[in-house]
């Protein structure tokens, strides 16, 4: 806490000195984007992030700017980050799918309606929202149990059961979400990322993965990542600078 206050003060001072709120910088960057100056927009958005601000819209707009300037990998990375903060947003979902389709050019998978349904529900709340929902439900349950020590009534018992189920469901959902978010996923941000059999240029390159592909980082050694491709069941090593982790804190 002691560290946070001076840091916050510092940031506040800087923003006062610049006399620009994040909103202003954001709108300025949007104007640059509209004018087609994607590079300028990118640096403005990135600057905001470097100053310690974030929002789903910021990542989304940055993704758009990257996409327009041809850096599909970085675009996908930012869309993924935006999606973590706001998984319900249709625009983010659409652009992510679109960028993925144009970068990876993979065959469209047959859509499974049941799977789609559950994914939809799963993506209804972001991890932060779920944290709050779970906490509130959990507190209410405890409260209900405490009250039930002193008063007995059918309504109270019903409430307790309902809250118990809700807490269990939201807890599982929350845990799954946390697990998913904290997996060290990364996006390939350089074109034609060759995957080698070991951490070094002397190892043979087994295959190439396209820019924008989502991979799981398994291990780190020097300046090499061991990555895994879940769907394809492949594994191998690549240089650190070819990838960018989705979770940036």
């Amino acid at each position: 806490m002691k560290k946070v206050i001076p840091a916050t003060l510092f940031v506040l001072l800087i923003s006062l000195a610049c006399a620009q709120t994040p909103q202003e910088i954001f709108l300025q960057a949007n104007r640059q984007y509209e004018a087609g100056a994607y590079e300028g927009a990118i640096s403005a958005y990135e600057n905001l992030i470097r100053q310690g601000w974030e929002s789903a819209s910021l990542y989304y707009n940055l993704g758009n700017a990257y996409f327009k300037s041809g850096k599909t990998g970085l675009a996908i990375l930012n869309y993924e980050r935006a999606k973590i903060l706001n998984p319900r947003d249709e625009d983010i979902k659409f652009n992510l799918e679109y960028a993925r389709a144009s970068a990876i050019q993979e065959e469209e998978k047959a859509k499974n309606p049941i799977r789609e349904f559950f994914t939809g529900i799963y993506n209804l709340l972001s991890v932060e929202e779920l944290t709050i929902v779970f906490t509130l439900l959990y507190f209410s349950l405890i409260l209900a149990v405490c009250i039930s020590f002193f008063f007995k009534s059918g309504i109270l018992r019903l409430l307790k059961t309902a809250l118990g189920i809700l807490v269990a469901v939201s807890g599982l959902w929350w845990a799954a979400k946390i697990h998913n978010v904290s997996q060290p996923y990364a996006i390939v941000v350089k074109p034609d990322c060759s995957i080698r059999s070991g951490p070094g240029m002397e190892y043979t390159a087994g295959y190439l993965i396209p820019e924008g592909k989502k991979v799981l980082i398994l291990r780190v050694k020097d300046s090499w990542y061991e990555v895994g491709l879940k769907e394809e069941g492949l594994k191998g090593w690549t240089e650190v600078d070819k990838l960018e982790k989705i979770r940036n804190y």
């Binding site: 509209e34 905001l48 601000w53 819209s57 989304y60 758009n64 469209e108 991890v127 944290t131 020590f149």
Partner: protein, 592 residues
Amino acid sequence: MNRFVIFLLSGIFLCCAANAQDISISASVDNARISLDQQTTLRITISGNIAQIPHPQIPQLPDFNVYSSGQSQSISIVNGKISSSVTFNFVLVPRKVGKFTIPAFSLQFGGKVYTTSPIEIEVVQGQVQPSPPAPSQPSPQAGAQLFVTGSVDKKTAYVNEQITYSFKFYRCVNLLSNPQYKPPDFTGFWVEDLPPQRTYYENLDGQRYFVVEVKTALFPTAPGEYTIGSASLVCNVEDFSPSSIFDDDFFRSFFSRGKTQTLTTQPIHIKVLPLPAQGKPQNFAGTVGKYTISAVLDKNTVEANQPVTLKVTISGRGNIKTISQPGIEELKGFRKYETITSTNISKENYIVQGSKTFTTMLVPQAPGQFIIPAIQTTYFDPEARAYRTILTSPITLNVKPGTGPAPEMSSLFTPKGVKFLGKDIRYLKTSSRFTRISGPLYEKPWFITFQILPLIILLITWFYSLHYRRLATDISYARLHRAYRNAERTLKGIRSNDPSICACTISEALTNYIADKLGLAAAGLTSQIIETELSKAGIDAETLKEVLGIIERCNFVRYAPASTSVEEIRPVYEKAKAVIMKLEKMMKIKKQ
């Protein structure tokens, strides 16, 4: 089989009108001298001027395996007279070496018995001869009535270079049915048929042959030594064995049975050379032959976000199907879609040639002038024994700013399904609420601590609820629990200035407290009982004395109120308070 044949033939006599009828029967074999591994065909011919020919009775042939090979019948009606002829064929396979006689066949018809003459067959020890169904030599031989040859145009070739295999069938006799060609084993080669088959006449050693030629193009797939196996041809030709009784040309062509022959070619050895390593270009993809390349765009001016089609065509001679896609560089400012290939092969002059077209759809993203750079590919020219690189000329494309919204592509181009080709990403978000970047909430220490808090509250509440319930149900527990508080309340409630009332209340508070604590009834509590019970509860003598002293003093004041003033009561009050506090502490310690 043997029995079946006999069953079929024996005992079937058909009676017909028996006037002026005449039949004849004959039996013959096509080869009277055979080796043990050969076979001979027994032919029984019955002919006569009747419509229904009776079946002959065939005797037991213990020295042969007998197989029926069918029968043929011909009926002719000339000037109202019927004549018919039936031929029964049997294949005889000898069981042992020696001289055998096939006994006479007999046929009962119209009261008469017709018989054939016996036939002698000599079976000799196996001679070195070709397989039984192929009595003619497979190699080309002058004077033979039919033979086949297999040849190639070159016996040494590079990988993926065309080798033409020719199969020729020479004959100077008529065939009874279409011959069946079985191509040789072409393992190790990519095979391309070269239709049409050619037919012509050729003179060979004075004999005029009718030749049928079938060609096949072969492309070796890997270097090494290979063998093209034997090709075979099964054909049915006229039989010229002079054993039939109708031994003239007319009947020969009419009644003689065809003979099945299998003709085979000699295997051919091919040496396949690897492509030279020297001078092999980096992007060489195994294309061999002689080719040209061209590239064309379907339009030279296009609006942004509208597709153009780039067609790269490689045409020439060689194995067209194996031509790989020429490397098209990543075009900046374009979105590139899957390349569709189409091949067009012709086999003119028995050389595999044609073109392969690679169609790529490009969608320019922004207006401007773009140059599609030269597209190159390399191939190996086996004639010159060198690698060649061929290039297209660069193409200029003018991209105008897009006007209308980009159209959706038809599914024509991508057979796998419609893709959002003409669509674009969705537009920017125009407003946002920003938060500071910090770790997620669930990782913050205060949050985790905060999550434990309700559990502690729960525990406390539970313990309290236990106590609460006991107070409600257990009277002695409730009295014990409330004793001190009640006593304190009673003492504090003294407002009166009357010393007797004050003393009475003090005494009451003290006795009630002791009664509650010890679980006794307050009404009958005398000093004596207090003394015994308190000492039993382990209260020391000094405190006991104090308690009794207070009670005594109170009683004194109660019964003689005039002698004391309110001021005198005050120390008693204080004392009582102190004693109760003391007792409370002592009892608690005792309880623990």
